[in-house]
């Protein structure tokens, strides 16, 4: 190591310059010189004190600066550029992540929306079909037909005709005597003192509640030679009342078809 040639080591390399009191004495050990000078203040010591104090001051200041929270304050340009580059690439990566996650979120959202729409569609269809199949209660405008049969002459045929006329007129839900819901599969049978609809014995007076266009429905029953005339021929009487709100409350459970199957893909 050639450190002894450096300017700082001038004290070393210029022994002739140092004509201090220490050098004139017999060459004592370093420890002894230190001990002696510790209690003998001199001009040189004052100078050293000033410079050492300056150094201590600078060290404390620098340590304080370094300990401050602003980590970028003391950096030079190249280091700042490096730090900036690092931050930029980090933020680019974060932005990429954000856009990826947003795309995923949108995808999931649209999928959820599609599913919700399909579900809503299916629910609507279930309600619509439920009205027709008689599995849900229904309400709406329609007519209330009251058939009186004081002599018991009314036969099943007249009643069936009436239901058929209603069906032709586009009825959507029928209920008889608040006890039987009439649907596509409903059966009508004769009974001793009345009729049996789907196995439920009904007696006159028959109250048929039908939901549909009130004018169309009542027209379908009242034409010449139609249901009303027919009942009157059998010495019965019919009164038809149009209403804004008919309540069909009787429901029935849907039975699964045993033989028919839906054609897939329709």
């Amino acid at each position: 190591m050639t450190a002894s040639d450096d300017p700082d080591r001038l004290p070393d390399s210029t022994p002739s310059d140092s004509t201090g009191p220490e050098s004139t004495a017999a060459p004592p050990s370093g420890m002894a010189r230190l001990r002696r000078s510790f209690f003998a203040p001199s001009r040189g010591q004052a100078v050293v004190a000033v410079l050492v104090g300056l150094l201590a001051f600078a060290v404390v200041t620098q340590a304080r600066i370094t300990g401050k929270d602003d980590i970028y304050a003391g950096l030079r340009q190249a280091e700042l550029i490096q730090a900036l580059n690092g931050l930029q690439s980090a933020s680019r990566k974060a932005e990429r992540d954000i856009s990826e996650l947003e795309a995923t979120r949108d995808q999931l959202l649209s999928r959820t929306q599609r599913r919700a729409a399909a579900l809503e569609q299916a629910r609507k269809e279930v309600r619509t079909l439920g009205v027709l199949a008689g599995t849900v209660p229904a309400t709406g405008p329609g007519i209330r037909i009251t058939v009186e049969d004081p002599k018991g002459d009314l036969s099943l045929n007249q009643l069936l005709d009436g239901v058929e006329e209603l069906r032709n007129a586009g009825v959507e839900a029928i209920e008889i005597n608040d006890r039987v819901r009439v649907i596509a599969q409903t059966s009508f049978e004769d009974d001793d003192d009345g009729v049996r609809v789907d196995g439920v014995a009904l007696k006159a007076p028959y109250v048929i509640e039908a939901i549909g266009n009130p004018d169309t429905l009542s027209g379908a029953l009242q034409f010449e030679g139609g249901f009303v005339d027919d009942v009157k021929l059998q010495s019965g009487s019919v009164s038809i009342k149009k209403e804004d709100r008919i309540q069909v409350t009787v429901t029935r459970t849907a039975s699964k078809p045993r033989y028919a199957e839906a054609v897939p893909g329709q």
């Binding site: 004290p11 140092s18 050293v48």
Partner: protein, 110 residues
């Protein structure tokens, strides 16, 4: 003893005054501190060798600090400031170690 008093006074002043270093000087202060440390250790070694001279010490102290600052300044201008200041710190560190080794030999004969 006066030197030790000076050290204590410097530390206390630094803690009490909490001076703000000008932004332009900020990169040079740590290097200057290391250079001054080197000068102080060199002076202590010279003192133990019996060849200490206060004039030489003052000159070496100041020139050490100035040269270190100039080297870092030049390095900043040339675009190698970070590397050059690292180099300066390494060189000064090696010198401090060798000086301290000599001091140790003087004081403890080991």
């Amino acid at each position: 003893m006066i030197a030790i008093i000076g050290l204590v006074v410097g530390v206390v002043l630094g803690l009490v005054l909490t001076p703000d270093v000008p932004l332009a000087m900020e990169p040079y202060l740590p290097i200057a501190v290391v250079a001054a440390l080197d000068a102080v250790f060199g002076a202590f070694r010279a003192f133990l060798d019996g060849i200490f001279d206060d004039k030489v010490f003052v000159i070496s102290f100041i020139s050490n600090v100035l040269i270190a600052a100039v080297i870092v300044f030049l390095g900043d201008k040339l675009g190698v400031g970070a590397q050059l200041s690292t180099g300066v710190v390494v060189v000064l560190g090696i010198r401090i170690f060798s000086n301290v080794a000599a001091i140790r030999r003087h004081l403890f004969h080991a």
